[in-house]
Each structure stands twice: as C-alpha cells, then as structure tokens.
Symmetry: C2
DNA sequence: GTGGCGGATTGAATCGTTTCACCACTGTAC
DNA sequence: GTACAGTGGTGAAACGATTCAATCCGCCAC
C-alpha cells in the first residue's frame, strides 16, 4: 500500500534524498544526528530500499546465483550453506537454483541469472556449459565451476580430488592389514567413479602382496549394493575379499545390509568396509560406516571467494582449486 | 563487456525503443517482419533484458521467494520442485532460501525478499512470523504459509493433515488384524508428533479390543529408534506390541535395524511397522518400509497458485488448504 | 575583515526498461 | 475528394535509487 520511497524519508527527516542515500550506504560521511534523524524516519515509515532501483543505477546486483545438480543431496545442501555464509559475510546473498540434472532447467537458471544481472554464478554443471559461461563472461558475468575441474577452459573452479579420496580409503584398509581389497562401483562412465578407482589402484600398487578386485554393481543405490553383497556372501569364504571400498555410501550401506542379514560375515572382522560421501546415514547404519568426506562447506566458501575476487578485478586469471577429502573412521573398519 | 541495451537493438533494427519493448512483451501488436528484424538484432548483439529496469518500471518482480526449514530434507526439496514447476508455467521463477531452522536466517531472507520486491513469499516458518508477514502485506507483498496451518491469522496456508496421516497408518495396522499397537514418538512439543498420535488414537478408538501404547524415544533419529527397538526386544514376547507406528521414517528405520539384528523378532510377522514421510531410505531399508507420504509437490504447486491469485487480486480472502496424506504399503506390514 | 579550508549537504543527471498518448499511413465507404 | 477506422510505430515521461559537482556553513589564521 504505502510505496514509501527515499523521497518520503527525506521529507520527513527534513533532508535531501542524497543525504538519505548516504545514510544508507556511507553513514560515516553524514553527521551523527542527521543519521539518527534519518534512521528514525526510516523506522517510522517502514521504508525498505527498492533493490531494483539501486541495482539499475549501480549496474549490478549484490546477489550471486548458485545452480546445483540436486538440492536434496546433502553434499550440495552443505555446499550451499558454505556459499551463503561466505556471501553473507560480505553483504551479498545467494539465490539457489536446482537443475535436477536437467539441462533445460540448468539453462533456464542461467538465463534468469543473467537477466537479473547477478554478480556471478556458481554452477555444478550437468551439460557442457563452457560456451555458455564464456558468453556470460563476455557480458560481464563471472562464473565458477563447483565440484568439477575447470581444466583449462578459462573458467575458475573448485573441486575435490577423487583420486586422493580413493587412495585415502584404500590406504586405510591396507594399513589395517587387509590385502584382498575389492572396489565396488557402477556406472564407470562417471568420472568420480573411475577417479576413486584410480586412487585405489595407486594405493594397492604401493603395497606388495596386496590385490585389488573390481566388482561391478548395476547402479549406485542401496538396492544395488545389497545385490552385490548377496553375491559376495555366496562365494566360499576363502574367495571373499577381506575389505571393500564402495564408490559411494549408498552402495556401502546396501552391501552392509546384505552382509549383516546373513549373519555369516562379520564387519569389520571378516570384511572391513569403507564408503564415500559420508552421508547422514553412514553414521546411522547398523555398523557405523567409515567413509570419505568431502569438504562441501569449504568448497562453497572458496567458490564465493574466487567469484567475488574476479568480479572485483576482471583481469584476474582463472584459478583451479582442488581440495583433498578426509577420511572419517568408524566401526565398519575399526572395532570400537 | 558490451552492456547492450534496448536502444542499441532499436538502432540496429532501425526501429524505436518502444517497438523493441513491444516485441519483447506483446509481439502480437507488431508486424511480423518487424518482429523478425528485431529478433535478429537481439541475437546479433546478444541482448539480454535488464530485469532491474523492467522491475523498477512495472513495480514488482516476477520472482517469488521460498523459505524452507531445511533444503536437505527431501520433503522440502520436493515441495520446492512443485513450486518451481508451477511458477515456471506462468512465467515466474522461484528463489530458494534455506532458514535451517534458524530464526535469524529466516528474518534475513524475508528482508532480502522484501528489498527485491518479490511477487510474494512462500514460507515454512520457524519462529512466530505472523506479525512480520502482516507487515509484509502492508507493504504489498503477499505470503503463504506452507506445511503449517494459517489458523485465522489472516495469512493463507497449505498444509497436510497429520491427524489424518496417523489415522491412516493405524487403521492400516488394525485392518491387518493387529491389536496391540505402539506409537513411537519423541519431542512431543512438535505439533506434527502429537497430531499423528491423535490420529492413531482415533483409529484405535474405533476398534474394540485394540490398545495403543505410547513409547517415547529420546529424539527423532535413527539412533534413537534403534535404542527404542533394543528396549522392545528385551521385553518378554508376550508383552511386545504386534505393530508399531513410528512418528517418522528415521525412527522406524532405527527400530527396524534393532529388530532385525537380534533375529528374534520377524517383521512383519511378529511386529508390523509403519513409518512417516516416505523418505528414500524407507523403500531401501532391509525390509522395505510401509510409510505415510505427504503430497509435497502438490503442496508447492498449490501454494504458488494461491500466492499468484492473491497477488493478482489483493482483496481475496485468505485460504487454508489442507491436504490428506497417502499410505504407501510395503513389506514391513504386508509380506510379499 | 578577508580568505581559505574542510566537512556536511544538496539536487540534478543518470541507469534501462515500460507505457501511453499520439502520429502516419492505408484502405474503405460515401 | 473527404472522412474514418484500423494498424503499426514513435518518443518522451516515469519508475526510485545513486552519484558527483556544486554549494553552504562554521571556524580559524592572518
């Protein structure tokens, strides 16, 4: 109803509009009692700054767009939290878009963000967006890839080293004395899945007498993990691995269910188990799951940092920051 | 770099800015070949409409804000999807804020949305926001509560009937011949928890010879469910319930783990089990879980509908839409 | 008394779009 | 030949903030 503008505030406070604007943006250039008077007028009228007008004048907004593959995924939820906190600390806000692994939705969000003249875009891409991002940049909007390496595309990125994660997991198993390691994976066309395997290979290669077997599941979910587990159980005990590294926690949880159900195989005594992602359910599993955790929050914070740096100085060269994941040890590998 | 404006497009296409604007917004009022010429100019220059300027002129944006308690929660993720799809269908977009059950974050998002002059706000509130929403309305921004009844606050709402959900769950158990029902809950200060219990009570009251026992856990997570399950198992078989209705799926999954682990109690033969929320893990549990599903997506769609109706006609009276949840039957209650 | 200095304040120009009253042109009816 | 309706197009005003050159004012130094 009201439609209170800066003009109304100025009139009530008995100052000019320029002064009100100064109170809002650079209070230090205004005398103390004028500030007080203007603030009082703002409160009385319930004035709220019209961000569109501000943005029109200054040329860009103070929001950054974030497009993730799946908000429901705790990894991205945590990443978003990190981004929000970092943005908040410097007076920016984050608007979140969920592409849901759908190229059209992803494109729609990029269009929206461009119309909104966001300060920049953080994106975990599904399609091949590099040309789109390049175009964005020509129009003055910077972008940072998250959870995906930029690999010389000229776009900055923050990602996690999956090879290191796989290495970490298997090295842990080897350090416990296990030697017959199995890698349980699926959908090997996904980079993450093969990178983790590569890390596992490297760890095994360092220890004489250690062997790595690759077990392929039908998919990356609990059900598929359970199916794989049932197969393992059917083998004669001597042919079973003494440790399994699963490509993600869902597979690991399914596998665990199968092992525990039969009662024949003890975890970790007979088979030690490591998952990946450290989802909530990892710690809540029947046997709490050792898992590799990605520094999701840090990823988000760092991405915002890079983005705002680049927005401030467009000449800055692209950076690629790679984080190392962390092993969270629980009962599925170490009795406790 | 370019900073292409509608003016540049107009110049290149050899028309006036007004015409370009018409091409953008009401192409039917412009002759076909002019449209084509303008479109070509737009493509050539890579023109993208500046939403801030548009918004400044028309007085409001075409985005709506959505504040949820926890984006990580699949219920809210699904609700957001519904809202986005519905908004998209009428040319609006949704920007998502995650309050994370934090009053300060919630307030910050409301401030942000107000500055942005969003078309309206959808909110699943944590604090007592009615006075804040009232103020928003005075400034011309409508709000709709989601997953929370408006109860005569003058604010519209869409919610799910938890009493009906509880009734549904227990009626199902009773129809299977179970008579010694237990309700496993925690944190009874949460309305949802007590409403579901109330529904359970009503169902039990309708069947002579049926009894309802309330079991209190320490919290609403898997770990707490498992603890409660261990207690149940310790009872003599004759004193155990023959069915359990858990206040949510996490509790149910924990309970299930405890029952299955001991091997002493068969599910559903000895104890049938119903959860609530139908989270992904419900169907992936060792014994797939019967659960009560909330129409999250529909909630989001409906909320957007109400919001945009009200935005179009501010005189509209507040509406309170209550949905009925749905029972998803799986192996934890019915063998097969 | 004058000049100069510096901090506080002013007010008009500006951002890029939409909107709307108005104009030009074409064809048609009389 | 004139009037009229209908189409397609024009261009300037308006939206509400920010910015910056200009002004004002008080005070001090000489």
């Amino acid at each position: 109803m009201a439609a209170v503008g800066i003009k109304d505030v100025a009139r009530l406070a008995g100052v000019s509009v320029g002064t009100v604007s100064n109170v809002l943006n650079r209070p230090d250039r205004v005398s103390a009692d004028t500030v007080a008077r203007v603030r009082a007028a703002i409160d009385e009228l319930g004035f709220v700054r019209n961000d569109a007008a501000r943005q029109l004048r200054v040329g860009h907004s103070s929001t950054v767009g974030l497009v993730v593959l799946d908000v429901g995924n705790p990894f991205f939820a945590e990443l978003a939290r990190g981004a929000e906190d970092a943005a908040d600390a410097v007076g920016h806000s984050v608007i979140l878009g969920n592409s849901d692994e759908n190229v059209a939705r992803e494109a729609a969000y990029l269009d929206l963000f461009e119309e909104q003249r966001v300060r920049g875009v953080l994106i975990s891409p599904i399609g091949d967006v590099t040309s789109r991002l390049q175009k964005l940049r020509e129009h003055g909007t910077r972008a940072v890839l998250v959870d995906r390496s930029g690999e010389g595309t000229g776009v900055s990125s923050v990602s996690v080293d999956d090879v290191a994660g796989g290495y970490l997991a298997v090295q842990h198993l080897l350090s416990l004395g296990r030697r017959r390691i199995a890698y349980l994976g699926a959908q090997f066309e996904i980079r993450q899945v093969t990178d983790r395997l590569e890390g596992a290979r490297r760890a095994v290669a360092e220890v004489p007498g250690a062997a790595l077997e690759v077990v392929t599941a039908e998919g990356l979910t609990v059900v598929h993990g359970r199916a794989a587990g049932q197969q393992l159980v059917r083998r004669p005990a001597s042919e079973r691995p003494d440790a399994v590294f699963a490509a993600n926690d869902l597979l690991a949880v399914g596998l665990l269910q199968a092992l525990v159900m039969t009662g024949d195989v003890r975890v970790p005594a007979d088979i030690a188990l490591v998952g990946y992602d450290d989802i909530d359910f990892a710690s809540a599993a029947v046997v709490p799951l050792t898992s590799v955790r990605q520094p999701a929050r840090l990823l988000g914070e760092t991405a915002i940092g890079i983005l705002l740096d680049e927005a401030a100085d467009p000449e800055l060269a692209a950076r690629d920051v790679v984080f190392t994941p962390e092993l969270v040890v629980r009962a599925s590998t170490v009795d406790g």
